[in-house]
Symmetry: C2
Subunit: 317 residues, 2 copies
């Protein structure tokens, strides 16, 4: 039986293998993805971002518990943007999460930048599709939320959580970086720390300035102490409310379409980039152009234009 | 007289205007860049990265002073990767640098992700070229060093500095993220703080493990207190030594070629991406494909393949 068929039956080992084959860009892996695609779109995707130290991993850990108590199966995608090379930088945070490793209802996968040559956004979309197709009810996507790639990934989530901690000053930077626009729920974690009220008051003020009052969903602010399991029931309830609001208002359909557009662009970009990167390392013609560039006999724009014409002429994609 | 010609004469206002026109992608700006390109390749480009709080900005501030005392003109490019939306997130750090604003020999420019649709790496390359063409002797490029884009930018520098501070634990993360491979000089800044020795010893151990012993340049470790102007003379001397080593060993030429390859790829990618992004928002054919994607009647890979065929058929780039 093909890998895709076993993934559709929820087979954990087949899913892990398909993820590896997609990551390694093995021939045939894309064909398996194509088989899975019509069966996707069922899982609820929850994005969780926040600065390092905001307790995202603990939060995800207790959310996994809460969903498992509701008999829902969970997929977790932990994305590590700080790691262009090694993939190991923030895995230490995730040791706690590993206690779910023996539970077949919890499927955890880390995504480092390395190894996903096609770009992190496309990779995240693929992993979401695969976990969705294997029948996971909920998919939690953790990012650190610093770069454009991570913001793009948050766009693939149905519900976006931002974790903040009082007293670090980090939350102001997070907000300034445009997180306001994409957050559905703010979770002030470690709410036993000093400074919770200040964060809440300032956050509320910023939300009142920024958000259109006619929006179907107004971003909510919740306090949690994930490590002591406090506030998690309320958080689960608000996530549920957000999902219901999305569906009731018709925005779920609109978001689905927007995500399809984003994914099409990501797949196109990465296919083109692959072609361009291969040309720039394999093609004698390009080697000659690079010599001319290095010695300033041609400029990068004229050189790029030459290469594009060549791609079109040769029909090489 | 054309903008490019005035830039070549070192005209600060013309340079600021060309940078704006390039940023806004005004017609003609690329033509001005093409005029400048043959005159580039003279400046020494020094990349400086480090986690937030490592004192990069203060370090750059005192380096500016040191270069000005040698009667060298300086360009500074401060890159703000944390800011996909607003561009304002870490500008506060740079207030100190602004005291150079009245010195015509110092040209400072911030680069936020926003506004440079073609990608941050291409933007950085363009700003480096323009400052180079205006005759700046030294160009300091500051990044925060978290994502692939920032690592790509560091590849455009001739000499790469990594700023670390004792006692925060951040430096370990920085190193794990692959900075070891690209750093020529490690600057342990705020060397009056506790924990300097530990950082130095661990760093030295990591370098001995990682670096090939036959390399023409072995990464150096320096201690500074930028805010008290301590250690800066030594740092200037080591930067000079690194440049001389590059030239003497022939690696300068090799690096120039590698940077040309990178830039060609960046320009190609961004041209292609522009085209793809425009198609995905303007083209009825693509709108129909997105409907099919959202309803799972087609998968993203088959859809992308259709779009690519269409681009080639229409010769639209």
């Amino acid at each position: 039986m093909g890998l895709a068929k076993r993934v559709l039956q929820g087979d954990v080992r087949a899913t892990a293998r398909l993820l590896r084959e997609v990551e390694e860009e093995l021939p045939g892996a894309i064909d398996e993805l194509k088989v899975l695609y019509p069966h996707t779109g069922k899982a609820h995707v929850v994005g969780i971002t926040g600065a390092p130290g905001s307790g995202k991993s603990t939060l995800i850990d207790v959310l996994i518990d809460a969903y498992r108590k509701e008999n829902k199966t969970v997929g977790v995608i932990a994305i590590d943007p700080s790691s262009p090379f090694s993939g190991g930088a923030i895995l230490g945070d995730r040791i706690r999460m590993q206690r779910h490793a023996t539970d077949e209802g919890v499927f955890i996968r880390s995504l480092a930048t390395r190894g996903w040559h096609g770009g992190l956004s496309k990779a995240a979309a693929n992993v979401i599709h695969i976990m969705d197709a294997m029948g996971r009810d909920v998919i939690l996507v953790e990012t650190v939320g610093v770069g454009q790639a991570e913001v793009d990934i948050m766009n693939f989530a149905h519900t976006s959580l931002v974790a903040l901690v009082p007293g670090t000053g980090d939350w102001v930077q997070t907000l300034k970086a445009g997180i306001l626009e994409i957050a559905d729920i703010f979770v002030i974690n470690k709410a036993d720390k000093q400074g919770v009220n200040e964060v809440e008051v300032e956050l509320q003020a910023m939300l009142q300035m920024g958000a259109p009052s006619a929006a179907a969903w107004k971003p909510r602010i919740l306090l949690t102490e994930a490590i002591n399991n406090k506030g998690i029931d309320d958080l689960m309830e608000v996530i549920r409310q957000h999902r219901e609001s999305l569906i009731a208002s018709g925005r779920y359909e609109a978001y689905l379409r927007e995500r399809s557009r984003l994914e099409l662009v990501e797949v196109l970009k990465s296919s083109l980039m692959d072609r361009v990167s291969r040309m720039a390392t394999e093609d004698d013609y390009v080697e000659k152009l690079i010599d001319d560039l290095a010695s300033r006999r041609v400029d990068p724009y004229s050189a790029a234009s030459d290469v594009l014409k060549r791609i079109v002429q040769e029909g090489k994609f």
